[in-house]
């Protein structure tokens, strides 16, 4: 048989034989479970979140938090209290055992007593870029102290800019601006720091990031990969910052997180492990058989924040879907007030004066110059942000 014939037979036989289709199982009425999150951070504030699980078809982003009160109890009976998002465990003694106690509408829940594990220092947080320059992967180099099991939480903050820089803005007649009510439609120059082009956004990295040095010759991780960012993402379009919080885990806690991670991603393949749930360490006071989701650890965390400028990454790529933005032609208002009013009510914003045409301004769709529209961020610069742009 000729090679070409074989080739085409192959193509017929193989390409597209396997497919992934949408599938929805009939799961009936779902029992909702109480979810408790909040590792006890000795030397820091402990943040607790109490929520319930939802149906598979529910919107994942929906907030299912429920009101609750919580405290951290030490084995010497000391109680550390505070609001849910800031229980003051800064001065707790790391040599004691701790547990988290939560009360909510569904009852009182408490975790098992856990010992405090000291997280080693984070030597460095770095990154590497893939050979094809399509992704950037954040890495951490660390040392373990008490335990060979690591977990990281990453809180990201980034500054981003709109595609165009606007030097002026439009004020409708009768509206107040900087304490002044203007009787006519007016175009004013931005004052320093008030520009709509610079915004900040933040998020938690949703990946479960764990590692074990159990089988390594040293309790040390070198450039361990944490999570990956695509080259087009807004996060790394200008200045990116991440605060990495490192926890030391017990073996059981490590397994819990590993199982959780596997159950979320490594399923459905030919050789994939079967998804088996691992019970957590939180129990209901009223009904010990009740299934409660979550695992509470206690650790003295280490924290490291890093900054990354897009200039040093040199991706300099524009997402395909945004490319057209740069091809948009600005519209000139020719100084005409009716045109200005029409542009303003039809989603345009002023960019700046039209070169060579006194009294005329160029306008662009608002999202091109307003970062709150462009990227759902905020114009409030975080306190810790060290750069002035």
């Amino acid at each position: 048989m000729k090679k070409r014939t074989v080739f085409w037979l192959w193509m017929l036989a193989v390409l597209g034989t396997a497919c992934v289709y949408d599938y929805q199982a009939e799961t009936g009425n779902l029992q909702r479970f109480v979810v408790i999150e909040g590792d006890i951070l000795i030397g820091d504030y402990t943040q607790v979140r109490v929520s319930t699980s939802g149906a598979l078809s529910d919107n994942s982003a929906a907030d299912r938090s429920i009101p609750a009160v919580a405290y951290v109890e030490a084995s010497d009976a000391t109680r550390y209290t505070g609001p849910l998002d800031a229980i003051d465990t800064r001065n707790a003694n790391p040599s004691l055992q701790y547990r988290l106690v939560v009360s909510c509408i569904h009852g009182t829940y408490m975790s098992d007593w856990v010992g405090v594990l000291l997280s080693g220092p984070i030597d460095s947080v770095g990154y590497h870029i893939s050979d094809d320059r399509q992704t950037l992967t954040m890495e951490v180099s660390s040392r373990g102290v008490d335990s060979p099991y690591f977990r990281w939480l990453a809180r990201e903050t980034w500054e981003y800019h709109t595609p165009y820089y606007a030097s002026s803005y439009f004020v409708r007649k009768g509206t107040k601006d900087h304490g002044v009510v203007y009787p006519q439609d007016t175009i004013l120059p931005f004052r320093s720091g008030e520009n709509t082009c610079y915004c900040w956004n933040d998020a938690n990295v949703p990946d479960i990031m764990t590692a074990s040095t159990e089988h390594l010759s040293e309790n040390r991780l070198v450039q361990h990969e944490l999570y990956t960012i695509g080259c087009y993402e807004q996060r790394i379009s200008y200045i990116y910052s991440v605060e990495i919080l490192q926890e030391a885990l017990s073996e059981e806690a490590y397994r819990y997180w590993e199982t959780l991670s596997k159950n979320s991603k490594d399923i459905g393949g030919l050789f994939s492990p079967e998804p088996f749930e691992m019970p957590g360490n939180i129990h209901s006071e009223r009904d010990p058989e009740e299934k409660v989701l979550g695992y509470i650890s206690a650790t003295v965390p280490s924290v490291k924040r890093v900054y990354l400028r897009s200039a040093e990454i040199k991706f300099a790529q524009i997402p395909p879907e945004d490319r057209q933005v740069y091809d948009i032609e600005s519209r000139c208002d020719y100084g005409d007030s009716k045109t200005r009013r029409w542009l303003f009510t039809n989603g345009f914003s002023v960019v700046g004066r039209t070169p060579g045409m006194p009294g005329c301004f160029d306008w662009l769709p608002t999202r091109c110059v307003n970062c709150e529209v462009w990227g759902n961020g905020t114009r409030n610069k975080p306190d810790f942000w060290p750069y002035d742009d």
Binding site: D22, A25, L56, S264, S272
Partner: protein, 904 residues
Amino acid sequence: MKPIRLFLVVVALLYGATLRAQSPDDVLAVSKVEAEQLVRFLQQEIDPGIFFLRDTSDKQSYTVRAKRSEFLEKAFTRLRENGYSTTRYDGHWFILRGKGLALSLPDGYFRKDAPKDTSSLQDYLDAQAAVMTFQNKIYVIGDPESPKPGGRGTVRGCVRNVASGEPLAGISVYVIGGKAYTLTDNYGNYKLTLPAGDAQLGFSGYSLEDLKLDLRVFGDGALDVVMKEKVFTLKGAVVTSEGMSQHRTPQLGIEKVRVELIKTVPVVFGEADALKVVLTLPGVKSVGEAASGFNVRGGSTDQNLILFNEGTIYNPSHMFGILSAFNTDVISDVELYKSSIPAQYGGRISSVLEVRSRAGNSKKVQGSLGLGLLTSRLHLEGPIVKDRTTFIVGARTTYSDWMLDLLTDRSGKDHNTWLLSFLPEPSRAYGGGSASFQDANVGISHKINARHSLHLNGYWSHDRFSFSKDTTFRYRNLNGSVKWHGSFGDNHSVTAVAGYDSYGYNIENTFDPSLGYLLTTGVDQWFAKFNFKSSVTDAHTLSYGVQATLYDLNPGIYEAAGDSSLVARRALDPERAVEGALYAGDTWMITDAFSVDAGIRLSMFFRAGDGKRWGGPEYRISGKYSFNDVTSVKAGFNTMRQYVHMISNSINVSPTDSWRLSSSRIRPQEGWQAAAGFYRTMLDNTVDFSVEGYWKHVDHFIDYKGGAVLVMNPNLADDLIETENRSYGVEVMLKKTVGKLNGWVSYTWSRSLLRDMAGPGTQSINNGNWYNAPYDKPHDVKLVGNYKLTHRYSLSFNLDYSTGRPVTIPVGQYVYGGGVRLVYSDRNAYRIPDYFRLDLAVIVEPGHYLKQLTHMSFTFGCYNVTGRRNPYSVFYSSDGNKISGHMLSVFAVPVPYVNFNLKF
């Protein structure tokens, strides 16, 4: 010239008879004489009418000792064993070396154009003549002058393929119109006791032409038989029924598939595959397409003992399970024991799958070449010493690497690629996947003499695949064995085998250079088996033996791969143990209608290291009662023990599974099965109907705790859960083995459930309640058929329906650790949608041009003709706001194929 040592030992032993009395009870003996002297002795002492043509090349010496009445037959038997024929014609005996005296002229003898060469055509005509010659005469069994007292005679002999001289195993030998029935053993030997007088003996086997021989039985005698392969004829007498064995043997739940049938069943990519055919049998299931393991009667994949020429195959798959490890060019047949497991076998709970390779053509060298979509194959066989020593070698390799490259180049972009979709989500993002395998078989058979033979077998396979350029999986099977088969006297035979089996796998991962590792595990075992068979009387056939296996397992070595790896070398302690067994069994034909097979196996397991001993008796009993020739009932009960366990938390047999031995903390699996069946042969002996029901129970079956660590875990036992397994079901089958249309249709209803032996509680799986085994598929319909359109063209079809397998799926979601996580259902509480598939194939056989040197055959087919999207698994992904369910279908469209074979 050598001094003639002729000892005429005439011993007047009994009743003081005198030398000249010539009583039939006189004992005559000759010792170490040449053929000529032996014949001269016969002429003097027994029959002067014996004519002998001396063959100077025969240097064999003969020793015969028997009563006068049996001396002639004994002497003739010895002569036949050394290549002489004994023909009776016109009241005289003619003893000639080689072919017997032709009693009629061959067809076309007087034609001028009759071929005189020794080409294949001549061979063919010789073969035809040989078979014809067989059929057209009356065979005298025993000595007419001195009929055996008791009015019965035992005929024994060997059945061979006329063209290749290979012994034929599993041939039904029976008296037409009578009750006597037997099957030839693995060496083609049979033995049947008949009443004195005229009888018609039938021989039949799949794809062989039926043979009928007229016998006149006076006493015991030998009759070697040759059979030829069926050239399909549209009309013609049909008397065969393979199902006949159902009514004659007491065992139940045995399925035998010959390679000729395997080649007709359509399979994906057209690569004829023994294991895929096993999957079409009732009671055998798999977890999905491209799954290499199989589940027999609710058992797990590691509960099947897979023997290839006596060696154990631990991983019978290639290419993620798309192909099996057995090369159909060299195998002869496959036999699956799913209920009555003979006492000779042990060590696994559910079933025994015996795969045997052929001995090779003893007449001439021949071979075949095959080109399929995945593999190319070559096999050669032939005599090293004609009619004495044969060889068979086979090899396969893939050429699919480039194809995989093609696929993985599209990595990450979409899911519509084939192999990528097998992978867990994260791996799909990386290109550079590849897969390949090679395997080779070698077999040498040497006939020491008619009673003793020696067989050497070797098998090697190697698989390598990677889903990304930095992770490579490899695994290897290696088996070697030497087997001696001998018979002593007329009633005793022994098979002694010694061999070595090895299975090993490793994973090399350099994805993260500082964590680069090489993980290696493996199983090595040495074994010796002595199996004896004795026909004590006509009614009893005893089998007994002793077996030993020495295990040396490497549960895991984890070491650094690459220069920058920080991985410290870590090795789990090797596991060593000896498994021994003594067994004895008897097949007792109490009457023609009622027979019983009973056996006991004492198995013992000594674990080195922790010194733990396990063991005990295993009982195997089954019985049959026939109401008449075509209606029987059977029942059986057997107990089994299993000391080796596969540790795996994936539903498929995956290359990363490892094997562990029982220890003080991992108990052996123990189980029993009770089964009963009804069998009826109908419609002129063309259709066999059977219903079998079973109930099975296994204790200490291994399941896993949530979060279990199965790799490199020195305290593995802590992560295991012992469960009990309960399986039951009914299998109904209609099978047609003859005619233009043949095949089978079966329906199975079965359940397989597990329960945590720890009892109720939140820490137990599903609170200690019964839950579905991952391979529990209650309804199952299978239809396999082949329809002969003409001599050369046939159409095959294969239909498979089953209930979807149980799965554990997410039933809810919650936000935790910054992301959306899934809440899972109870274990195996849901099912994926039902499975349905229809495959069709057209097989074009070679033309029957005898002078042609090569013969080509083609198979065109289509797998999953209806293009049904059969689910393999379901999984879930999140787009950040909503979690959506997906279903992975491995062969979601019709998959056409063509396969080409060249025989030479």
